[in-house]
Symmetry: C2
Subunit: 209 residues, 2 copies
């Protein structure tokens, strides 16, 4: 497997991060225990910082899991809200509990179901976060472009897909990611930057045509 960032470097950055609030630590513990993929603390901090810069009114997540990335987003809001979506009722219930404990429940909205369908009903998105099935990123961005505000930010996780994007004979998921990245870099309404942090985070600034 091709690695993305040198493990020593990742560990150095991880160690720099000062201890977070207890909810973050609890969520990380749950992620490690169950093997459920969370974006991890390095990316979490990055999302927090990006949100501070952008100061968004509305963040929509497609694929929230039990709410780790949403928790970072929400912590960074001065006002506005985050919409969490996930197919799993169990995940969403867990997310609710963490948000309640962290006193962030008032800034979040929770939905069980197909995030793409749910988001289609939501106009005026400032940050769209994609972390659902990798084969559906491109479909999501095409379906939801009309719901983005001018100057919105699309953030997509796993866009280097464990380094598989540079390997021979890409599988179906890798092909989908390759196609998605190409689209985001070649569509003139988006200005994209792919950051080789953890599993690859694509940031894309949207300008209405």
């Amino acid at each position: 497997m091709t690695f993305i960032t040198s493990p020593e470097i990742e560990e150095y950055i991880y160690r720099l991060s000062v201890p977070e609030d207890s909810i973050i630590l609890e969520m990380e513990k749950l992620g490690h225990k169950t093997g459920f993929p969370i974006v991890d603390r390095i990316v979490g901090r990055f999302l927090f910082l990006i949100t501070k810069l952008k100061n968004p009114g509305l963040i929509v997540e497609i694929g929230s899991g039990f709410g780790y990335s949403a928790y970072w987003f929400t912590k960074a809001l001065s006002n506005g809200k985050v919409v969490l979506t996930d197919f799993s009722k169990e995940n969403i219930e867990l997310a609710k509990k963490f948000f309640e404990k962290g006193n962030l429940i008032d800034r979040a909205e929770f939905h069980v179901g197909d995030g793409m369908e749910i988001a289609q009903e939501i106009k005026g998105i400032d940050i769209l976060f994609l972390d659902h099935q990798k084969t559906k990123y491109l479909e999501a961005v095409k379906k939801l472009e009309g719901n983005l505000n001018d100057g919105a930010l699309v953030i997509a996780d796993n866009t280097l897909w464990h380094g598989k994007v540079v390997e021979e004979n890409p599988d179906r998921q890798t092909k989908a990611i390759l196609e998605f990245n190409k689209y985001m870099f070649n569509n003139e309404r988006f200005f994209s930057s792919l950051i080789p942090v953890r599993d690859g985070v694509l940031l894309s600034y949207y300008r209405k045509g």
Copy 2:
């Protein structure tokens, strides 16, 4: 030498980047020809995107070289300006020529001399970009903190210093970077994120105490 990002991954991201305007290409060519260290296209695009999100009024660079990073910053401005500083008169003259050619000269201010001293006279900084002597990053941030606006962003290049931050027996420059990173992660007025892109880009969100 410890590498930071897998070279194949870096090349993949580089190839995704669509051709830029001719001035960018000319500056990149000059950087490669002379061996002068520029932040490169991957980081350039990242700075552009960050600037779009932040929408700053005033960007100040400590160590502009011949203006490659400043050019990306300036391209992203909707209004506001960029202050370039460099010890080398030759570099600043080159920068001026590139900015003239690119019709960005009206949004830039050019200074030859000690960037830290020049910046001390400038209040209301929204983005402070550090790319001068690595042993002077910490001094710069301490001296200039009072000149930052609330919500300002400090961006520091080379904060993984060719991967030397994880090697044994760090030299003087590496020690200075290690100390700087530690300071930026442990000072509660800054919220920092170290991105392992190219040679390491530290982003730090500033909140007045």
